[in-house]
Amino acid sequence: MRALANRWYSLSPLFRGERARVRGRRLLRRLCVCLIVAFAPSVAATASDTTPTFTPEERAAILSHGPWPKQTAPDPSNRVSGNPAAVALGRQLFFDPRLSSDQMRSCATCHDPARSFADRRDRSQGHERLDRNAIALANLRLNRWYGWSGAADSLWAQSLRPILDAKEFGMTAPMLRDRLAVDAETTRTYHALFSVDLANDVPERVLVNLAKALAAFQETIVTQRTAFDDFRDALERNDAAGMASYPLPAQRGLKLFVGKGRCMVCHFGANFTNGEFDDVGVPYFAEPGRVDSGRHGGIATLRDNPFNLLGPYNDGADATHTRHVETQHRNWGEFRVPSLRNVARTAPYMHNGSRATLADVVRHYSEVDSERLHGDDGARIIRALRLTAEERADLVAFLETLSSE
């Protein structure tokens, strides 16, 4: 570099005539090329290796995503929530194919523990192909709504839905009671939990009670601490060494997540979701000519559902969300904002599983069609982020740190 600098300095007298100016420009161009070549590796290294700094606002935003795990209380709408005997019964039922009419399917068919309680299909398969992706089951006690459209306002109401759905288990309440009443262990546990004989109980109440046991089990499925949680806690206590162990690409991705990407507007809080619904520009045709109306239809189903929290089976929960939820035109095509905890393990993504990888998801938000979203009275939350390739990779690197080992 010193030789180049000396030569540049010695060129100055040449800038006198036109010929000299041309020669000078040629030399200048060559010099610039040399400088670019010489510095290129170090410039790239600087972009990739710099530890990002966080503004006070970004720091507060990061801290709002924890601490983890988040403490929860038993579900007041479910009298057996948190009851160990109910958890055991629910676990047994979760894997029991007798809950389906042909005895070929159980909850674990689509919510496989070996696949993070999902099935890795784009859209799940019941008696026929379903419209939506199986949501991974975890941290469910933190939900306000259940299912992609929020058609259930409690975990137990969501748990009995596939049992009755003709496309999924295709059962009736009497069939369910009669099948399980021959099982001595189930009958004993049922009586201990609900103080009534299973064989003589009202079929609809049996259905609800078994769904409450299923819910009690599913509430125990919680994700573990992650690399992000360690970083977040280190940031909170100003532990530079602890923060330094968090990969730099993930740190840059985190900065995008709480900043330019505006991801945390919806993926908010310790569970990385505000628990509500949004239209993010994913096509909502389940098949040509048939629309999955998402949240709009979900609210209608909720209102018609005899098992919602305004009904007789609520054991004591405040049903504020059910009482006040409002149907709005913008609910068309809205789907639940999913938690991002364990997201790297729950591909494919979106309500219809149409995005195979996290990179595909990030690319979607980078290039989303704003006109499609904002054509009428749609909310102006989502807009194309126009991320660079490096930014997209950083965001993926961050998202991958939200999964436990």
Partner: protein, 138 residues
């Protein structure tokens, strides 16, 4: 058009006190903040007092001054995010708790950011709107 002053926020015990029995305008010592226009003034408090993203809250509203000095029949409370072009996902309901006094339930702000809350005082022949901006932090 101000939010709850810090002194009011500290008085959480006061917030649990019953509403004043008349439409006399309570002050910060009673856990209320004021909101006014040249035409009207209300006192209000919300419970829980520290608003959080995604948490339901109630709002007590007392109409202290109206355009014609008359009573308020009902109120309509709403909130919008101007930057996003959407409102709340829930429809609040107002129930009278005394003359020109109301308790509004079912309020929930589901995203961080700026929300514009509106309170409409409905009288027989007119509707008077007061607005209040809330910067909801993560």
């Amino acid at each position: 058009m101000t939010g709850l002053p810090p002194a009011a926020l500290a008085l959480s015990a006061v917030l649990l006190a019953p509403l004043p029995s008349s439409a006399a305008c309570p002050d910060a010592a009673q856990g209320f903040a004021r909101l006014s226009t040249p035409e009207a003034e209300i006192a209000y408090r919300w419970q829980p007092d520290g608003l959080k993203v995604g948490q339901f809250f109630t709002m007590d509203v007392i109409a202290c001054r109206t355009p014609d000095g008359g009573a308020v029949q009902t109120i309509i409370v709403d909130a919008q995010m101007p930057a996003h072009g959407h409102g709340m996902n829930y429809r609040p309901t107002a129930v009278a708790s005394g003359p020109s006094q109301f308790r509004v339930s079912g309020l929930m702000l589901h995203m961080p950011g700026r929300w514009r809350m509106t309170v409409d005082l409905v009288q027989s022949d007119r509707r008077t709107q007061l607005t209040h901006d809330i910067d909801l932090k993560p």
